[in-house]
Amino acid sequence: MTRILRLTLNGRARADAVADNLLLIDYLRDAARLTSVKQGCDGGECGACLVLVDGSPRPACITLAAQCEGAKVETLEGLSGPGGALSPLQRAFHERLGAQCGFCTPGMVVSATALLRETKRPDEGAIRAALEGNLCRCTGYVKIIDAVQTAAAEMAADQTAEAAG
């Protein structure tokens, strides 16, 4: 069966005809051409395909597109600021070498984005807990933790400055 799927994807409304059994990852990669959503495993094991569905991280490879009817879906492509400016997390992952090969990076940044929206200054334990479902094979996670902490500190400093101003 095919249905019309209506959702908000990276801030823009979309309507697409999709099969009931179409996986969200295939919808995002093939229909919407959002190739940051990576297939790293055969289903729900590695976190490379994490996207935000109504703000919550969800593995797109074990989510049906149809489940996202009316939802707000965000991928890494949608996390940059106005004019494509890097978000604090994107900048920190780049500058602190949180990304080596970059294949797990989309899922990592998506997970970390969800974390920092909930928790302004997470401690190391909270970062480890939030990213436990994201596998990385390059970094040993050392610089990923550093990147999340750096971004959190920067965002907190910006907010303090805003509040003061």
């Binding site: 990576k38 590695c46 080596q100 436990e132 596998l135 094979r137 040993g140 610089k143 933790i145």
Partner: protein
Amino acid sequence: MNAPARTATRAAGTRTPLVDGIEKVTGRARFTADLAGDAAVARILRSPVAHGVIRRIDTTAAEALPGVLAVVTGADCAHPFGVLPIAMNEYPMARDRVRYRGEPVAAVAAVDAATAARALKAIKLQIDPLPAYFTATEARAPDAVLLHDDKPGNVEREVHHVFGDPDAGLAEADLVRTATFTCAEINHAQMEPHAAVAEWVPGREELIFHSVTQVPFYTHKHLARCLEMDPAKIRLVKPFVGGGFGSRTETLNFEIIAGLLARRTGGRVALVLSREETLISHRGRPETEVTLALGMRADGRLTACKAEVVMRGGAYAGYGIVTILYAGALLHGLYDLPNIRYDGYRVYANLPPCGAMRGHGTVDVRHAFETLVDRMARELDLDPFTVRRANLLEAPLFTPNGLMVNSYGLPDCLDRVEAASGWKERRGKLGPGRGLGMACSHYVSGAAKPVHWTGEPHAVVALRLDFDGAVTALTGAPEIGQGSSTMVAISVADTLGIDVGRVRVVCGDSATVPKDNGAYSSRITFMVGNAAIGAARNLRTELAQAAAAKLEADPADIDCAGEVFSVRGSAQSQLTWAEVVAAALAVDGPITVKGSFTTPEKAQGGGHRGGAVGSTMGFSYAAQVVEATVDVDLGRITVDRVWVALDCGFAINPLAVEGQIEGSVWMGMGQALMEETRYAEGLPLHASLLEYRVPTIADSPPIEVHIVESVDPLGPFGAKEAGEGALSGFPPALAAAVADAIGLDMDALPLSPDRVLEALVAKRRAAQRAKRREDA
């Protein structure tokens, strides 16, 4: 000293984010599978049996299915391939015989995935089973069927090397100990599954080929060979690659299959392997049994080493000969140990082929060596650091097996981690179940003699300078996340005195870049770095001539720093980069220069058979301390912290060097704690990332990195490798920490909870038996 001083205006030595990093954090980076678009979908049919004779493959029904574009089998390629020209014995799809479960036997291309899956089911395959062997011992049995008729005893290669007088060495030791260590087979588990996108261009009969490869040049060669094509008709492109660690350091069967299917369909084909298929493609570190005898004097001085190594290599040759040679060759070069006997056996078995994995050939042997040294130090009541310091080399030197050592930062590495970890103050005082262990390791900075010996330079980099003032660096060095393109940009920028952002690095497209052997054996920084510096010096010469003409000075007196040209010793006359570029282009138009690097003959190893393997321009050296806690009820080990120091000669990009050291230590931790492939009658039981468990962020400790810079006389800016040397020190340092924590010595890897509990029970029972004997 050829290392540059670290200053704000020098690029070399400055922490530099990766030049291709923005694409990775914004989602713009395109990996191979991202290029599939509307390509036909390809799938592989794999052997359901581990060893057998193919009686029949009937593809008629599959070919007749609507939507099926092409079907290929072993009959479509009669050319064996393999990374070593002397050991090419693999076909992209099995012909006549299958030798492991999961070996490709046929492949299809179809309009969509569902049709491709139906087509695979429609292929009729009849295989008569043969006896299959899943251990090296079974395969070596006298009556075993041969996997390859030309390899009696199923032994791919035996190595017997003797240097010095090992028997005399053992005789003069105060303590001789022997032990056998069994290390499980492991896999790279790089995050990106294998993929190839191949496009046949009808009319021109050309192949445009995108792949996840670490070795585009080898894949280019093997495609030409197996498809019987003029290599000039192939364009090989390496897009962003999601990690390698050796998994893609040889041409793989799926790449050739994709090429065959593209040609058969006359269009674009995407072959994206599942995680299970990626794991079956394997090429990981073989199951290895190391029997080691060491002699030590009462002061900790090592007198001799005898090592017997048996590797279960899987069904095909791959890098096997090199792996078994590395295992023996790198017994040398870390310590001053003149008496070494090595006997190595690389054995075929009916399992997916092993290959090169980070620390190629050396890791399991280093684990055995360092672990036995640690035990002997304990018996002799010596500190493990004292024992290492009693056996240091003094560079420059050549080892007994002919390896060149020009720089040796191990003494500094030892000092740094001993102090940082609080070894002297803390060891033995951490409380029950907690311990500290240490170990040393080393690795080559590129093989001094490549496997495809053509007589060409080991590396070539070309630079282009045109009206826009950008310097374009063309290199075949495959950027796979390790930061090689950034290293090239820094080396060029530093040599020219310009901003790193002015250098654009183009890598991995055979249409534009010079050939490069690839991303393996930690060769790129040393070899490609030197070639990049050479190219930049040549460009600097042309620019200096143009600047000198304008400034009416001697070209030898022209300096460029911060993109400003000046005459040395003169405060006045200066020219901008743009002015000098314009003047230089006016002479003869856009400028193209190149630089190359060739290893000197003396670096290429000893004259004995197999002596080239292990030879290198320079070794990295590492020491590390691991702190661990052992839960004796659950058998669970927690790594609390790691202190590691690595001598990389000079850190061209300290940020990337840290990342490489952290990643390699951590990968060693995965092998030490949990990683292991398992098979049941040849069926992989580790077919997913849940079953092949790698450490998560929750399992992973803080890793404190110390960079030691011995400044190698031949390295680019004095640099050596940084991405492999620290790996092999982790497993023995952890084993030593466990022994320190709970007094348990283990002979197997990984130190998984089941093995720890088994060893604890065995130890308790042995103690009880001993006590009963005593009581009786």
